[in-house]
Each structure stands twice: as structure tokens, then as C-alpha cells.
Amino acid sequence: MENLIGLLVLAPLLGAGILLCGGRALDRVGHWLGTLLAAVSFALGAVLFADMLGRDAEDRALDVTVFQWVPVGGFRADVGFHLDQLSMTFVLLITGVGTLIHLYSVGYMEHDERRRRFFGYLNLFLAAMLLLVVADNYLLLYVGWEGVGLASYLLIGFWQHKPSAATAAKKAFLVNRVGDVGLSIAIMLMFTTFGTFAFDPVLGDADRAGEGKLTAIGLMLLLAACGKSAQVPLQSWLGDAMEGPTPVSALIHAATMVTAGVYLITRSGAIFEGAPDAQLAVVTVGAVTLLFGAIVGCAKDDIKKALAGSTMSQIGYMVLAAGLGPIGYVFAIMHLVTHGFFKAGLFLGAGSVMHGMNDEVDMRRYGGLWRYMPVTFVTFGLGYLAIIGFPGLSGFFSKDKIIEAAFAKGGTEGWILGGTALLGAAITAYYMTRVMIMTFFGEKRWAPAPSPDRPSAEPAAEKHGDGTHGAGELPHPHESPKSMTIPMILLAVGSVFAGGLFTLNDTFLKWLEPVTGHEEGDSPVSALTVTGATMAVLVVGVALAWAQYGRKPVPVTPPRGSLLTRAARRDLLQDDFNHIVLVRGGEQLTRGLEAIDRTVVDGAVNGTAVTVGGLSGRMRRLQNGYARSYAVSMFGGAAVLIAATLLMRAV
């Protein structure tokens, strides 16, 4: 059984290798090969899952060391896998959603010339992400961590001929670097503290290290999580990452990769539990981000960017829950899984809408689409109900639990966190209703197709379908092909039922508890009250959105809006902030350093060179070409040699 874990990672890696090195011969079958290998990985995951279910809760974890990677003295880095319930959950989510999105991409990328390469990158992403979650030490996790970063970079910039996509890819890469440095520092700290970075010894001995060390490690891990999961203050890349093809947004930037930060925090729970300050930082980041993302989501007219804001906000919920400690871990992961379903479904729905609407992304130019795209409408609608927490659907169960856990934190902190989470739920209801109404209801506000070189245009949708309409024509919305709708339907099923299944008999809780541990918090408010309050804010949010967008026509050109709206449209000025603080500051710093380099360093270097050169010129004159002076030098040398030897004896 253990050997299957390696195959799990190898299958998509093999696919990436074949597809990226295979050449044009594979153009015709490459996409199916990629999808097949993703499915193989999923099947292996399912086999492992069945095997795991067959065993007792306490010894479900599988460990296997494949080979010693870097054995140097006391430094041991192994390639080893650790598959427990937490990893298993991720494996199923990654391979399951991954396979569906591969399938969807077959249709979505049908007209792209570089489809084979696209599938190669997708497979590469799957392999790296699986490595990240099944690694049994932090160094190997780091390899996967960098691998998904690379895949994300390649896929965001997949349409590299668009300057905006190339820039967005660079931005994502650079911002992620900041987080990755955090992870590498955390690993180094672990090595100096524990002498190893394997999960078992590090997490097992965490309570023996001092709190200061643990806090430092925890904060560095949080920095890493912030980068990968687009949390404040490293959130600025996610909105731009929507330049990538929509399936990428669904898989990497909604369902899986961006949740790696939550995985990291949950996995390193023992470290955070020993460092309350770091935990406080985690919940603060989560709470701030969940409001931040929600507010940004309210103001965006670009459907994908609105969803990106929403992703940020939902991951904020997960980070918040993960920061709560054992009372929140299980619900963080549960929300992560349900979010994986409904957010991927929403993105795929958005892609389907864009597919039908001549790659238009501006929701102000949608309207009344429910009649033209029934399947998309229904699946998107179910995803919508799930994310706002409509009773009975996935999001209801998972989000409700997080809000409860936030209150259960206790004290003032609990009230603040709980209140924030509730407020976030209201805003979620508001912005998602806004998206829903602007896209599917109301009057048609369709506009002629934008020219393909508009920055936000998705080239994949350019030449779709019958190809009867080009730039300047009104769109003819239509339902997408089967290969796209089937994944949407399957994801919608997940969005509807996953939450209920998980909560029934506390199945999910019992499943994860052996790994993450769980304790019931001491909540000042009863569960029923929380549910009631959630329902209330839900209704308020929906009603507000309805009042604003449902009851009166939506203007095609966006109104100027309040100061907050304008700021939110600019992502709450995050880029401006970064520019002023980091870019300007960095420029000053480099100028200063450059001046120092020029005067001090170059001066020293050139000075040395001149000195040595001068010395060389002077010593060279001793070499005058006369055998007699050479002989004198030898004689003198011999005399000195003898004298020195005698002198050594004398002293």
C-alpha cells in the first residue's frame, strides 16, 4: 500500500514530463493523456482511501521513506511520504477536483494551439501539490511548495503574449517569493532548534522548545501561508492571477493551491499551540483578510475578480479557524473541502458564462442569462447558495461551525472574532447575490464583443463554438459543451451535499480528530443562537443586494461610487500601498547600496588591484635576465634558509 503513495505523485509527474518533452506528436492526444493520468492519480487516491477506511482510526497513517535525498553528516533529508487522514483529505480533493478540471479544460481550451503544454503544466501542478501534502518533512514539503508556485506562475502567464498576463505571473511569483523566504527561514529555524525537519520529531518535541523559538517559527510559517494563500499583507497577487485561464483560476487559485497555507498551519498545529502570540497573529490575519476580501469582492465588476475577492475572504475564514487551535482545525479543513467544491464550481460556471458571452468578463454587460444557459445557471446557483450558507447546503454547515468556533474562543477576543465572522457572512451574502443578479437576472446589457487584445479577454474563448461572431458583434449566449457542463454538475453535487455528509454523525470530525485533535470550545452563545444570527445576516445581505441590483436596472457604466467603493475597486489600494512603501523604499535602498558599492566596495577592490599591480611591477624588475643576479638571489636564499633553520634550533 505504501508504494502507491509514490505512484500517486509520479503519475501526474510522468504526464508533465511526457507532455512537456513530447513534442508536437502528442498534440492530438496530449489533453486526454493528461486527464487520464490525473484520473489515475485519483483512482490511486481512492484505493488508498478505501484501504485507510478499512483500518482503525488510530493507525491509519502510512509512512514510507523512498530514499535518502541529502545525507551529509548530521543533516538528513529524506524523500519520504506520510499519508494520514489530513493528507488523504487533500489528496482526494486535489485529484478529484483536479480530474474534473482537466476534463473541463479539454472543452475550454479546445481552440488553443498550446493546449498540450497547458495540460503538461496542469499535471505538473498536480504532482507538486500532491508532493506538498504527502511529504513527511518540511524540506520535501518545501519542494512541493515551490513546485506549485512554479506551476502557478507558468499557468497565470500561460497567455504570455498578453502583457497583463505576463505581469500578473511575475507579480504572483514575486509576492510568493516573500512568503517562500518565510518558509525557508522557518525550516532553518526548525533545523537549528530540533536538529531535523521531519514532521514527527519536530511536532512531537515542539513543547520542549522555548516559546520564543516557537513563536519565531510560527510567524515565519504564517508569512509563508500568507504568501501562498493570498492573506493580508501578501494578498495582492490573487486578483491579478485571474489573468490565467479560468480552469486554472478554479483549480489552483480557488480550490487547491491557495489553501496550502491552511494545510501548513494545520499541519504545524503543535508549533502554533506552543506559541499563543503566533496564534493571535494567525487569527488576526484571518479576520482581517476575510473582511478585506469580502469588501473587494463587493466592488469588482469583473466576475472572476469578484470571485477572487471571495476566495481570499473564504480562505480568511479557514485561516481564522486554523488559528483558533484544536477547536478550529477540523472546521478549517472542512470549510476548505466544501469551499473547494463550490468555489471551483463557481469559477467553472464563470468560465462557462464567458465562453458563451464572447469572453466578456464585465458583469455589467451580462444580464438575463439564466434563460440561455440553464445548466450553468443551475450549477452556479447551487454554488451560490452553498457559499452564502443557505441552510442545508455545504457552506452552511462548514461556515456555521467556524463562526461558532470563533465565538467559542472566549472572552473579548471571541466576541471580536465571532462578530467579524458574522459580518463577513453578511458581506458574502451581499456580494454573491450581486454577482448572481448581475449575471443571470435583470435585463440584457450585452455589448458587442470586445476586441481580443483587450487586456481581460480570454483568448481561449475567442474562437469558440460555431465561430460566427467576432469582434463587434453581439454575443449569442449558449450552453457550453458536455465536457464542461459535466464537471460543473459534479461539483454542484458536491457543493450541495458535502457539508451535510460531513456533519452527519460528525463523520468529518471523527475522521480528522486522530490527526489534528479536537476540543469543544466554551461558547458564550449557544449554537442555535449562532445559526439564527447567521441566518439573519444572510437575509440582510441578500436583501441589500436585491434592493440595490435587483429592483432597479444595473447601469452599464459603473457609477462613481463612494470613497470606499472606489478604494475597493482598486483592491483597497493595496498596490498603491505596496508601491509607495516597498517599491519607492526599495528604490531608495538600492540607490544607497549602489552608491556604497561604487565608492566603498569598488574603491577597496580597485585600490587592492592597483596596489598588487604596482607591487607586481616592482617585483618584476628583480627578474632582470642576468644569470649572475639570479645566482646571487639563490645564494642569498640558501643563506637565509640555512640561517633560519639554525635559528629555529636556537629558539
Binding site: S616, M619, A627, Y630, A631, A638, A644, T645, L646, R649
Partner: protein, 556 residues
């Protein structure tokens, strides 16, 4: 008076009484283990055959015959070395052969193998006849038409017109190699001196035989001869003093006296050992003779002039093989004869090593001639190797052995490349003429760049592995300051190596720049071997380090 009597007894008493006691007996015939000396004997035999060939074969067929004799002789000798090593003479069966004159042990066999391989590759350069344009319809090599003819005189012109070549270089090469084979294996001071002369004299002659720039070549030979004779004299004086001190010339005998482990101390010995000055002065003088051969400062002055003047194939051979042989002898002297004195000579050798590294690296910076540049580089490398020699540890021996093997092939290759870059006056050794060579002949420039990087000790070349091993050994035996100076001078040295690379690749070629001659397979093989050894020893040095480590024990 009593002292004189004691000395008298030393010379006469024991021997006279021995002779008197065994009066009827004849001098016993020496017991010689011919098989174990076979490498040397094969080379000497080949040299004699080559002399006979020179005497009896018609001039036309000499070149081919000489090349064949040389290559076969050297290859056979190498095979003999390998066979001896395979029989275990490098490790378990190591002993002193030929009545205590020659050691057959790991270091000796390793160095002999290295010298033979170096000589084999160098012989290819000696045999190269395609670089110079044919004179009067006959191919010519790097050597003078007739060595005895006055440069520019009638005799020379006639010789050139007649198409003569100095095919005597091959027997000279073989005699020199034979001397070099004995030099690191010599186990008594007289054998050491004889070996020194046997390999030095042919080298003096070889240096004088350049076809082009003959005056420079002859000047180099005279300087080399004068200074070499001077240093030989000092060495011989040192030998005499050591004999006066210990009453014996064998290494083990002197070592016993130095360590005070002599079984029977005669009164004469007791009185001579009472005066350490003999030992110290004698030891220093012998050391000086060896340091002259390795080109260590302040005995290095001959190196640039001789390297520049000598025919380039000879320079390559000298730079590689002489260094191997001389360092081998130095190692044996320091590790076998004088370890008991290491507190006396180590600080002095530190000084020599530091001075050598710095002088070599610093003076090289302002050189404008490729061959002189390589000469100073070889001085700096002598300093690096000395740092390993001084370590007096098994690691020191093995690192020096490895360094010598690695360095000699880099040197051979580098000088072989120098022979390729030519203009109307023969080899274009002026550095300024090499500008832009990388644009005209990227392959040749790239190969030279590999050798320069190896000299500079850049990783993935043999130079790095060797330097690392030597500095590691030096640091492990408490030579940290030595290592610091070594690294600093490596940095200085890197400057001029890289400057040549920059010159070749990033400067505009000159209109009147040199051309790169297309060599015959001989030189191509020599350069190719150099590149391969450089890269293999750089990428996978461990096997060879182990080999050198296994061969690192001296026999006494």
C-alpha cells in the same frame, strides 16, 4: 686531538678491521632486484636503442623510428609500473631495492606512473610536425635543424636546406625520464644526486634546441645550466655535510641517526652527532637543491626565462614532469629522512611556501607573454603544493600526489595549446596577440579557458579538487595561516587567469592577429587527454584521491 682520533676511527677502524677480518673474501656482488627496477631499466634500454637508431638508421626513417621507440618504451615502462603496483609493491610488499639505493613503494610507483604518462603525452608534442610550414618540402618539428650550428650561420642554413631535424631529442627525452623515475624513488643521497644529474643534463640540452628564436633558446639553456650546476653543487655540499653528520648516505640510516634510534653508536658517530649544525646546514642545502628544481622562491628566477626560451613542447614536459619528480624527492626527503627535525625545518618551509605563492601570483599579474605567465603560474602552484608537503601527514602525501597528477596534465595541455597559436614568427606568445582568439577559434580558446580555470582552481576542474585536498591537509595539520595566504594568492592568481579568458573572448580580434594551426592527431590527442583528465579529476576526483591515498605510505 681526541676529536681527530674519533673521526679517524670512523673512517678506518671499523672498515679496516672488517677488511682485515674478511681479507680472503671478495667484495660481494650487489644484489639487484631487476624486476622491481624494470620501469627505469626499460626506459634506459629504450634510450640506448634510440641512440643506436640515431647512429645507424638513415636520416629519413629516424623520426618515425624514434617516435616508435619512445612511445613503446614509455608505454612498456608504464605497464611495468602498473604490474608492480598490481603485485602489491605499492602497499604490502613495498621495500628498498638495489642494496638500499632505490625505494619501491606507493609514492614512488604513483609518481613514476605519473611521470611516464606525462612523458608519453609530451612525446606526442615532440613528434608533432605539422604546425610549422614545411621547409624545402620536408615537414619540420619544433626543434632546431642542427643544434650545434651557430644561429643564423651558414651551417644552420645548410642544415635547414638539407631538411635535417634533431631527432636526438627523443633519446634525450628518454634519458631525462629515466632520471626522473629514479629521482623520487632514490633512497640514498648519492642516488638522489646521480638521478638529479641524469635528468637535468638532457633537459639543458633540450632547452637549447628551439627551431625559432634560437638565441633566446640558447640563452635559456645556458642560464638553466649555470644555475642548475650552482644548485647541484649546493645540494652535493649538503649531501657531504649530512654524510659527515650521520656517517651514512642512506635515508633510513640518516633518519635513524636523527631520531637517535641507532643500535650501535660508535664513538665517532657520537661525537659527530653532538654537533647538530652539520645536520641542519646539510639538510637545508639539500632542501635548497630540491626547491630549485620545483621552482620555489627565492630559487625560482630561472623558471620564467627557461620556460620562455625552451621549445614549447619541452617547456610543457619540464613544467609537468620535473615538478612531479622533484616534489617526489622532496616528499621522500622530508617524510623519510627529516621528520625528526620537523620543528626545525617546518617554519622555514612555511616561509618558503608563503613567499613562493605570493611571488608567483603577484608577479604573474604584469606578464605580457603567455609562456612567462604560465611560468609564474607554475611558481605559484609550487607554493600551493609545498603547503601540502609541509603538512607531514598521510593526507598531505596523498593530496600532493593527487595535485601533481592533476596539475601536470593541465600544464601539458596548456603548453600544447600555446604551440597552436602562431604567426609569421612562429608561436605568437605575446598575450596581446591572443585578443579575440575566442571569436576566431572558439574551440581552441575554450580548451585553453578550461585549462586556465583549472589553474585558477574553479570547481568541476581538477585544479579545484587538488587545491582543496592540499589546503585541507595543510589546515588539518595546523597550517591555517598557510591556507589563508594560499587562498589569497589563489584569488590574486585568478585575476590573471580570468584576464586571459576575458582577453580571448571579450576583446576584438586584432587585424594582424595570429592564426591557429591545424595540428596533427598527435597534438590533438595530447590536448584531448589534458582536457579529459582535467574534467574527470574535477568531476569525479574521489577514485583518484583514494588511489593517491592508498599509495601514500613511504617505505624506510
Amino acid at each position: 686531538m681526541s676529536r681527530a682520533a674519533a673521526v679517524h676511527s670512523l673512517w678506518t677502524d671499523s672498515s679496516v678491521s672488517a677488511v682485515l677480518a674478511d681479507a680472503p673474501r671478495k667484495i660481494p656482488a650487489p644484489h639487484i632486484e631487476y624486476a622491481q627496477l624494470s620501469p627505469v631499466l626499460i626506459v634506459l634500454g629504450a634510450a640506448v636503442v634510440a641512440v643506436l637508431a640515431e647512429a645507424f638508421l638513415p636520416r629519413r626513417s629516424r623520426h618515425l623510428a624514434q617516435v616508435a621507440i619512445t612511445v613503446v618504451g614509455l608505454a612498456a615502462a608504464f605497464a611495468a609500473v602498473v604490474a608492480l603496483a598490481a603485485k602489491g609493491y605499492a602497499t604490502g610488499k613495498a621495500h628498498v631495492a638495489a642494496m638500499g639505493a632505490v625505494a619501491v613503494d606507493g609514492p614512488a610507483l604513483f609518481l613514476q606512473g605519473t611521470i611516464l604518462l606525462v612523458a608519453l603525452v609530451a612525446a606526442l608534442g615532440f613528434a608533432e610536425r605539422r604546425l610549422d610550414p614545411a621547409a624545402h618540402g620536408r615537414p619540420v618539428d619544433s626543434f632546431a635543424a642542427q643544434g650545434a650550428a651557430v644561429p643564423g650561420g651558414d651551417a644552420e642554413q645548410e642544415a635547414v636546406k638539407a631538411g635535417w631535424t634533431t631527432s636526438e631529442v627523443f633519446p634525450l627525452l628518454l634519458f631525462a625520464v629515466a632520471g626522473m623515475l629514479v629521482f623520487p624513488a632514490a633512497d640514498d643521497l648519492l642516488t638522489l644526486f646521480v638521478a638529479l644529474e641524469v635528468f637535468s643534463l638532457p633537459l639543458y640540452v633540450l632547452c637549447a634546441l628551439a627551431r625559432r628564436k634560437r638565441l633566446l633558446s640558447q640563452e635559456a639553456a645556458v642560464k638553466y645550466f649555470l644555475l642548475g650546476a650552482f644548485s647541484s653543487a649546493i645540494l652535493l655540499f649538503g649531501v657531504a655535510l649530512l654524510y659527515g653528520y650521520a656517517g651514512t648516505v642512506t635515508y633510513s640510516g640518516i633518519a635513524d641517526v636523527v631520531n637517535g634510534t641507532v643500535r650501535t653508536v660508535s664513538p665517532a658517530l657520537a661525537s659527530s652527532t653532538g654537533n647538530d649544525a652539520l645536520l641542519l646546514i646539510g639538510g637545508a642545502m639539500v632542501l635548497m637543491g630540491l626547491l630549485f628544481k620545483v621552482g620555489a622562491a627565492p630559487f625560482h628566477m630561472w623558471t620564467p626565462d627557461v620556460y620562455q626560451g625552451a621549445p614549447t613542447p619541452v617547456t610543457g614536459f619540464m613544467a609537468a614532469a620535473t615538478k612531479v619528480a622533484a616534489f617526489g624527492a622532496l616528499l621522500r626527503l622530508l617524510y623519510v629522512v627529516l621528520p625528526g627535525l620537523r620543528w626545525d625545518w617546518r617554519p622555514v618551509m612555511w616561509g618558503v611556501a608563503i613567499l613562493t605563492m605570493l611571488v608567483g601570483a603577484i608577479v604573474a599579474i604584469t606578464q605580457t607573454d603567455v609562456k612567462r605567465l604560465l611560468a609564474y603560474s607554475s611558481i605559484a602552484h609550487a607554493g600551493f603544493i609545498l603547503a601540502g608537503v609541509i603538512a607531514i601527514s598521510p593526507d598531505g602525501v596523498s593530496s600532493v600526489l593527487f595535485y601533481l597528477a592533476a596539475y601536470s596534465f593541465v600544464t601539458l595541455g596548456a603548453f600544447a595549446v600555446v604551440t597552436l597559436v602562431r604567426d609569421a614568427g612562429g608561436e605568437a606568445t605575446q598575450l596581446s596577440k591572443w585578443a579575440g582568439l575566442g571569436r576566431r577559434s572558439p574551440l581552441v580558446a575554450a580548451v585553453f579557458a578550461v585549462f586556465l580555470l583549472a589553474f585558477a582552481g574553479i570547481p568541476l576542474t581538477s585544479g579545484f579538487a587538488g587545491k582543496f585536498a592540499v589546503f585541507k591537509a595543510a589546515a588539518a595539520s595546523g597550517g591555517a595561516p598557510l591556507v589563508i595566504v594560499g587562498v589569497v594568492s589563489s584569488a590574486i592568481a585568478a585575476f590573471f587567469y580570468v584576464r586571459v579568458i576575458v582577453l580571448m573572448f571579450f576583446n576584438e580580434p586584432r587585424a594582424d592577429g595570429p592564426t591557429v594551426a591545424v595540428p596533427s592527431p598527435l597534438t590533438s590527442v595530447a590536448i584531448g587527454v589534458g582536457v579529459v583528465v582535467t574534467l574527470v579529476l574535477g568531476v569525479a576526483p574521489q577514485y583518484f584521491l583514494d588511489l593517491a591515498g592508498d599509495a601514500g605510505v613511504f617505505v624506510r
